[in-house]
């Protein structure tokens, strides 16, 4: 391996400890510095039958089932920077190990950005965000990775390097291979480069933040906002625990035990933002919500950063992500509160009410480890039953291996599995990429 990437870029033994995957220690951790080195590493792994776990900054390594075996961790952090960027075309290509934050800084000089704001946006790499299909509040306006990536380069299990898509915003040449790799958790190939369509940064962004005495009160307001001509870039519903913490981080007072509803509007003109915010405030008022205050400037940015990166703090933690019908978001929050109360867990809920994506953050500070694990397992089962009725799903985004060994982190229905296995069988017949971590143990 040293011959392939250089002795300075390989770690084994105790040094590899910080790269454990669900407590499994790799035989070696390699840091390839080029696409060619990723390719030779994979060709080697393939020839030797080594199991490979790709990794970026490690912000989402807890996602997925416990791997069957980990021989090599391939860290892509050295593979970073801009490949090409033409501001007037509003497209840019980055190496996969680039931090989203660094990419946004480069694009920001031209008033442009990638419309992604996933959790840990300051630490996460582009490759990791794409592989896990990670998204945040702005998804309502800008879409997710599948909507923003226009071309991709991938190193396959056997070391072959291929591309898909084109560096233009509209393209139907050949199959849309981008879609295959996005969200596939590195089980079909390692993403090494991606080209994004960019958006102009709105010159003005403001948010109406209202407090409501229950999630049920939010249901009507959210429905009316979504059924109106308003074009918010984010509509976020937070439970009282999450509201209090986010407000605190943004330096805002927050009334006890009240839910938060945040509606964000952006435009190139302030008058267009204010006119829409006025409508939002009226709708909130009519629904009996406390008059929302308008956030702007640093407070606005701090509020959204805290929402995006929401965490409950130290201690045993589990994060679940649910996707449900828009009409079921408020119920999904309520069901979460009920099950958390029953299991003696503390719960922060951050939900993208306009997209139907909900994040449940659970801790069990007072509970014993065993009690906590039991409670989480119950919560997952309860929420999954609810989500299935709401035509969606629940994924365990982040949990210690002791919890993961007790629940299926994905929960994909048995009948969908045979077909899901087919792409894996074609692209990685030796099962060397992330074995056991994806749906159904793929």
């Amino acid at each position: 391996m040293s011959d392939l990437v250089g002795a300075d870029h390989i770690v084994a033994g105790p040094g590899a400890a910080r790269y454990v995957v669900d407590s499994k220690l790799a035989r070696a951790v390699v840091f390839p510095g080029s696409v060619e080195e990723v390719s030779t590493t994979m060709a080697f792994a393939s020839a030797e039958g080594l199991k490979v776990v790709p990794r970026g900054s490690g912000t989402k390594m807890a996602l997925g089932g416990i791997p069957d075996r980990v021989d090599l961790v391939v860290v892509l952090s050295r593979l970073n920077g801009v490949v090409d960027y033409e501001p007037a075309d509003m497209t840019a290509t980055f190496r996969a190990g680039s931090l989203l934050k660094e990419a946004q800084a480069v694009l920001g000089r031209n008033g442009q950005f990638i419309g992604l704001d996933p959790p840990y946006a300051d630490l996460a790499t582009l490759g990791g965000i794409l592989a896990t299909n990670s998204s945040g509040p702005r998804r309502l306006r800008y879409g997710a990775s599948r909507d923003l990536v226009i071309a991709i380069r991938v190193v396959h299990a056997d070391g072959k390097v291929t591309k898909g898509g084109a560096k233009v915003v509209k393209n139907v040449t050949g199959y849309d291979m981008n879609k295959l790799y996005i969200g596939s958790l590195g089980t079909l190939g390692i993403i090494v480069e991606a080209t994004f369509r960019l958006h102009p940064m709105p010159a003005v962004e403001r948010t109406c933040l209202a407090s409501l005495d229950s999630v049920d009160a939010a249901r009507d307001v959210v429905a009316r906002i979504l059924d109106s001509p308003l074009v918010p870039f984010a509509v976020e519903l937070l439970n009282p625990e999450a509201s209090r913490r986010v407000a605190e981080q943004a330096g805002l007072p927050w009334p006890k035990a009240r839910c938060g509803l945040a509606v964000a509007i952006g435009s190139i003109r302030p008058e267009a933002v204010d006119a829409q915010l006025e409508t939002v405030r009226r709708l909130c008022r009519e629904a009996g919500a406390a008059e929302g205050h308008v956030l702007e400037g640093q407070v606005h940015d701090a509020f959204w950063r805290a929402t995006r990166d929401f965490a409950l703090g130290d201690g045993l933690q589990v994060v679940l992500k649910a996707s449900v019908l828009l009409t079921k978001v408020a119920d999904a929050v309520r069901v979460g509160e009920e099950v958390a109360a029953k299991q003696g867990l503390r719960l922060g809920v951050v939900s993208e009410a306009g997209s139907g994506i909900i994040r449940y953050h659970l801790t069990g500070e007072a509970a014993s480890d065993e009690r906590f694990r039991q409670g989480v397992a119950e919560a997952v089962n309860r929420l999954r039953a609810f989500a299935q009725e709401a035509e969606g799903n629940v994924v365990v985004l982040d949990a210690p291996p002791e919890v993961k060994s007790r629940v299926d982190v994905w929960g994909l229905a048995e009948k969908a599995l045979p077909f899901m296995r087919r792409p894996k069988a074609e692209f990685d017949p030796q099962k060397i990429l992330n074995p056991g971590r994806f749906v159904g143990g793929i």
Binding site: V168, D176, S184, L325, P423, E426
Partner: protein, 482 residues
């Protein structure tokens, strides 16, 4: 195949009014929107349900008969052409809107539904379906799924794939499977995503779950009249550079204007070198705020005249001209051959110059009508097949344009698809390994290669199933010179 026996079995599945074997009836299906290619199916079947589609497909699978699905037949790359003969499955009878769920912003439709019918059904409640190909009054949503169709509104709202969230699919072995659904982020691989744009080579979609959106509160359409293509192109870049994301930015050159004015009298000045249509939509105040800056950009780029449509009638007339452009070509030429390449927007001026030069070189007129906002060109090469060798020249010229666009960092096709027409151009963009990865995913869906053979993959490629030898040779001869 034993045509009579197979036809009898198919009649048992769909009924006698759903099976055609008579050459007269089959003729309708021998070509799609790209009329330079022709191929006859042996049998046409018109099912009414997913179960019937599955039944038909099972027969094809068991008998190893190649088969092709067809919607409205408006495709422009020969995608619905049964190049190996076999069975053509027409989906026009599956044309219902199955469910509209306004609160969850979803609709479920059958594949044969005409695109605009969905928006017509949604309009009374103030909703619409965004992808709006120029053929939307005829093309089907199933066909849109196959081709990942675009339309003028893509700069702001994206193409079909951005609006399709789930599918019910009959696989080439006759199994019925569901991908995705009404919620976002379904578990596992994004099979809906990879299916959209697979040009009818993966399976037959029998149900499509789409996103529906609230109709914008306000819409403004501006027409800018320019003396040079360069000024019009720079205007496009600068509007976007200001942080404005118009719903649509369309350009037409003088030949197009001539044709359109003769055809529908949209009110474009006959002596303009280029006309730009810019549409902004959204909340009232937002739209009001954007019109001023767009006019300023036009002025800074020497616009001769800029007109904001003063009412809905005038706005619709401006669009009628654009949407009727292809059809209006008949006014100035007996036939046309259209390309669909995409270029990075900044390459518009050099590409337009090159197209002008090629027009001189080949002695063929070109009318340019295109989606300037996303660099998706539609050069319509005008020819008359009655003149010896002119079609051939048109194809050759088209090939040169495509090649130049790819060399400038662009793509072979933005919305029409590769189909039969451009399959041998694929190596211009993708090497053997890239194509091999695509072949693998084709194999995931269609391991026996029965569904829509002869499309997308270059004829010479292993696993790139091919059509009848005679036609293939003629096609290769033309394209090899690219």
């Amino acid at each position: 195949m034993d045509k009579e026996r197979i036809a009898r079995e198919l009649i048992g599945i769909v009924g006698s009014d759903g099976v055609a074997t008579d050459p007269g009836e089959l003729r309708v299906y021998e070509t799609d929107g790209l009329t330079i290619f022709k191929a006859m199916p042996d049998i046409v079947v018109l099912p009414r349900s997913a179960e019937q589609v599955a039944g038909v497909v099972k027969v094809c699978h068991r008998e190893r008969i190649p088969f092709v699905a067809r919607g409205a037949g408006t495709g422009l790359s020969g995608g619905a052409l049964p190049v190996d003969g076999g069975i053509l499955i027409g989906l026009n009878r599956m044309n219902r809107v199955l469910d509209i769920d306004y609160e969850n912003q979803r609709a479920v439709v059958e594949p044969g539904l005409v695109n605009v019918w969905l928006t017509n059904a949604l309009a009374p409640r103030g909703y619409y379906y965004s992808p709006d190909p120029a053929s939307q009054t005829a093309c089907s949503i199933g066909g849109n799924v196959a081709e990942n169709s675009g339309g003028p509104r893509t700069p702001k709202y994206g193409v079909t794939t951005n609006h399709v969230l789930g599918l019910e699919v009959v696989l080439p072995d006759g199994d019925i499977v569901n991908f995705g659904g009404r919620t976002l982020d379904p578990l596992g691989y994004d099979l809906t995503g990879i299916f959209v744009g697979s040009e009818g080579t993966f399976g037959i979609a029998t149900k499509v779950i789409v996103r529906i959106m609230r109709t914008p509160e306000a819409v403004k359409t501006l027409m800018g009249v320019f003396e040079t293509i360069e000024d019009a192109s720079n205007t496009v870049s600068e509007i976007v550079g200001q942080g404005i994301v118009p719903a649509a930015i369309e350009m037409m050159d003088n030949n197009s204007i001539q044709a359109v004015e003769k055809g529908v009298a949209a009110g474009y000045p006959l002596d303009a070198v280029a006309v730009l249509l810019v549409e902004v939509d959204g909340p009232k105040e937002e739209v009001e705020a954007l019109v001023g800056p767009i006019i300023e950009v036009c002025k800074a780029n020497h616009v001769r005249e800029v007109r904001v449509a003063k009412d809905e009638n005038e706005r619709l007339l401006l669009w009628k001209g654009r949407k009727a452009a292809f059809a209006a070509m008949g006014q100035i030429s007996p036939e046309y051959y259209v390309q669909d390449s995409v270029i990075p927007r900044t390459k518009l001026p050099p590409v337009m110059k090159l197209i002008g030069e090629l027009s001189q070189k080949y002695g063929l007129r070109v009318a340019n009508v295109f989606h300037a906002g996303d660099g998706n060109l539609h050069p319509l090469i005008l020819y008359n097949s009655a003149n010896e060798g002119e079609l051939r020249k048109a194809e050759e010229m088209g090939a040169e344009i495509v090649k130049a666009c790819v060399e400038m960092g662009g793509s072979l096709t933005g919305e029409h698809g590769i189909g039969l027409e451009k399959r041998d151009f694929m190596p211009l963009m993708f090497n053997d390994d890239d194509l091999e990865a695509m072949r693998k995913i084709k194999k995931v869906f269609d391991p026996d290669g029965l569904l829509n053979p002869g499309k997308i993959f270059p004829a010479a490629m292993r696993g790139g199933e091919v059509g009848p030898a005679g036609q293939r040779e003629a096609l290769d001869k033309v394209l090899r010179r690219a």
